[in-house]
């Protein structure tokens, strides 16, 4: 068992994360005050509720926007896991900047899914110029009820007249263009809505106006506002996809942005853990560092393990987009549901270690913890709230548990060294037709684990734990199936149905983490390949499935904590693939 870790031993040879290392180096360490994405600068923007222009200019210069253009259209969006890691590192600096910078992924996605060649070319040019495209989907009185939306498009000669309001919309005022969801059949219904690509720089300024910035709890530097149209003319060439395809395209496009939300949430979790680990190492209480307190050790190690499981869910979700795009309705709902709530809970538990400092707005790492705490709460709400995701899962639950085998080889989802097929957005589907390759993998995991018997890279006791956890997940799947069969209508928006969906998401998470580890461990460093983090993380996933289980201190807390401290001291990301971060400045 390797215990002493050098900087080299964390190195990852996975090429998809090279861009992330270059990006972090370009941003500089977050405590380098003068840098546009330092904690000092983003704290000032947040306090002043000022749109993050300097960070966004830096990103434009670095070329971040190229990752919003698929390679087929001249950009750098080739692998969604590569893009996701960039989103995560940026979100770790400032969620306001990360959301503003990535609003274009959401605003542009429906054009990549269903736009004409001319529209795709137009969008690629806008993005390359650094213009933002927002997504005008929701309205003040209708929340997530898409068929109730009122903003209408009336057909006229050569185009359409838009009338109505969109609110609250991220980057509504700052964006140069907006994809607008509009009623095109006054009777409404699932075919009564369409999408329009609206160039805000060319429409008649007399026919539209921005709605004021809305004060928010967190992400105060963000432009969360709206737009009002009054018989605003847009040409026929603005219509995206077929007339009446609005709901279908919006739901498909949201699958990509909801998966991206995993990266946004992970960034917040990374920063919270980094700040609190640093505090526990440097702050002394009762004559020793805070880190010597057993409760603090458990809190930090468990937070690390929980974030690693959340990372596995996020990375496999991003890779599933390439391998099984027709299942993304399920994977994206699980990422969007599970990762933000896991991060929120992790941050809440980490706040206990900081004591009163979690509440202070300017001490310890510029007071970034309380900002991260406030900001991170929005990720589980926007792009379809937690209950929207649970409902999206619940309506598919009975079919997902019918045990259908996916007709594709899912290995490239879990093997991080496997080349990914190119993006095939035309294969996105509103349901997975009963397929979930993570759940399907569960049946093979026990055998694959047993094959590791005697392997010197895994401690026997750890392997035994992993085997027991794999069996427990199988048993939970069986129990869930029974409970779903007994539920009168899992598709109903009931607390019972949502809890069934929650359990499905947790089992999927456990299976995805195990499968990723088994298929990728030969490419992981000695600690990550050893699997103690996974044993600890799965124990905690199972505890959420069986809340009455007695809490015992896991034997894996200590090695997981040691690895966390080592990664922190070497400025590495708290990740299964510990990306090298910009080094801390010498003070």
């Amino acid at each position: 068992m390797q215990t002493a870790r050098t900087e080299e031993s964390h190195a990852t040879a996975l090429p998809q994360f090279a861009a992330a290392e270059a990006f972090d180096l370009a941003m500089g360490h977050p405590l380098e005050g003068a840098r546009p994405l330092s904690f000092q600068q983003v704290m000032a923007l947040d306090e002043g509720e000022t749109y993050p222009r300097a960070p966004l200019s830096f990103l434009k210069e670095w070329g971040f926007q190229q990752y919003h253009i698929p390679v087929a259209h001249g950009g750098k969006l080739a692998a969604y896991d590569e893009f996701m890691m960039l989103v995560r590192l940026l979100a770790g600096r400032d969620l306001s900047t990360a959301v503003a910078a990535n609003i274009t992924l959401l605003g542009g996605v429906t054009t990549w899914v269903a736009g004409t060649a001319e529209q795709k070319e137009r969008v690629a040019q806008w993005i390359a110029q650094g213009k933002h495209i927002s997504f005008g989907l929701t309205e003040q009185n209708h929340g997530s009820d898409l068929v109730a939306n009122r903003l209408c498009a009336e057909k006229v000669d050569g185009g359409w007249l838009l009338t109505g309001e969109k609110w609250p919309i991220g980057d509504a005022t700052q964006s140069s263009a907006m994809t607008v969801y509009a009623r095109t059949d006054e009777r409404g219904g699932p075919r009564g809505f369409s999408l329009f690509l609206v160039d805000k720089e060319t429409i008649d300024p007399q026919t539209w106006r921005p709605l004021p910035k809305i004060p928010t709890l967190g992400m105060r530097a963000s432009d969360v506002s709206g737009i009002a149209f009054d018989r605003c003319f847009v040409p026929d060439s603005a219509l995206i996809g077929p007339l009446g395809a609005g709901i279908e395209l919006a739901l498909k496009g949201l699958q990509l942005s909801r998966t991206m939300c995993g990266g946004l949430a992970m960034g917040a979790g990374d920063t919270a853990l980094r700040v609190v680990t640093d505090f526990a190492l440097t702050r002394r209480l009762y004559g020793s560092p805070v880190l010597a307190i057993p409760h603090v050790q458990s809190t930090l190690a468990e937070a690390f393990a929980d974030l690693l499981i959340a990372e596995c869910v996020t990375i496999t979700g991003a890779r599933a987009l390439h391998v099984v795009p027709d299942q993304l309705s399920v994977w994206s709902a699980i990422v969007k549901y599970l990762v933000p709530v896991t991060v929120e809970e992790t941050i809440r538990r980490l706040s206990v270690v900081l004591g009163a400092r979690y509440f202070l707005r300017d001490t310890h790492w510029e007071g970034i913890f309380q900002k991260t705490y406030r900001d991170s709460g929005i990720v589980s709400v926007f792009e379809g709230s937690t209950v929207v995701q649970l409902h999206a899962l619940a309506v598919q639950l009975r079919q997902l548990l019918s045990g259908r085998k996916a007709p594709v080889d899912a290995t490239p989802i879990f093997d991080l060294s496997a080349p990914l097929p190119g993006l095939q957005l035309s294969r996105l589907d509103l349901t997975a037709h009963g397929h979930d390759s993570a759940i399907a993998s569960l049946g093979h995991l026990e055998e694959a684990l047993a094959a590791l018997n005697g392997d010197p890279s895994v401690e026997p006791a750890c392997l035994q734990d992993l085997l027991a956890h794999a069996r427990a997940l199988q048993a939970e799947l069986g129990a869930l199936k029974q409970d779903v069969d007994a539920c009168a209508n899992p598709g109903e928006r009931s607390a019972e149905a949502f809890d069934l969906a929650r359990r499905f998401a947790l089992i999927h998470a456990g299976a995805a983490a195990l499968a990723l580890w088994l298929h990728s461990r030969r490419n992981l460093d000695a600690f990550m390949a050893g699997g103690q983090w996974l044993a600890l993380g799965l124990q905690r996933v199972l505890a959420q499935l069986r809340p009455s289980a007695v809490r015992r201190t896991s034997p894996w807390v200590k090695p997981v904590l040691d690895a966390l401290v080592s990664l922190h001291e070497h400025d590495r990301l708290f990740s299964v693939t510990p990306v090298q971060l910009a080094a801390k400045p010498v003070s």
């Binding site: 898409l146 068929v147 219904g189 699932p190 075919r191 709901i247 279908e248 409902h391 999206a392 309506v395 598919q396 009975r398 079919q399 019918s402 589907d429 509103l430 349901t431 037709h433 009963g434 209508n489 899992p490 598709g491």
Partner: protein, 92 residues
């Protein structure tokens, strides 16, 4: 487009859909009008996905998730599915 493999008559499919919609709406099957849109029985755009899934299991073949959007009444949908099944059988 994938076609239903199980051959079923318009009437069989209609009766099956009536039972499903009645069960979803928690009403007696006699209260379901096959000419009324599904939305009248509380079937929103996402809930109809559950019925597509049930229909897929019953007909043993994948169907588009948007089926209930494009054929918004029991009569429309049953007629469409029966015709698709018949054309599949005549081809196969």
């Amino acid at each position: 487009m994938q076609l239903p493999s199980r051959s079923a008559s318009v009437e069989t499919i209609q009766s099956w859909l009536v039972l499903q919609v009645a069960s979803h709406a928690k009403v007696d099957p006699t209260e379901i009008d096959i000419l009324e849109p599904f939305s009248r029985y509380g079937l929103d755009s996402l809930s109809s996905v559950t019925l597509v899934a049930n229909l897929e299991s019953w007909l043993e073949n994948p169907l588009p998730a948007t089926l209930f959007w494009d054929y918004p009444t029991i009569e429309d949908l049953a007629r469409y599915l029966a015709a698709e099944a018949a054309s599949l059988n005549s081809v196969g």
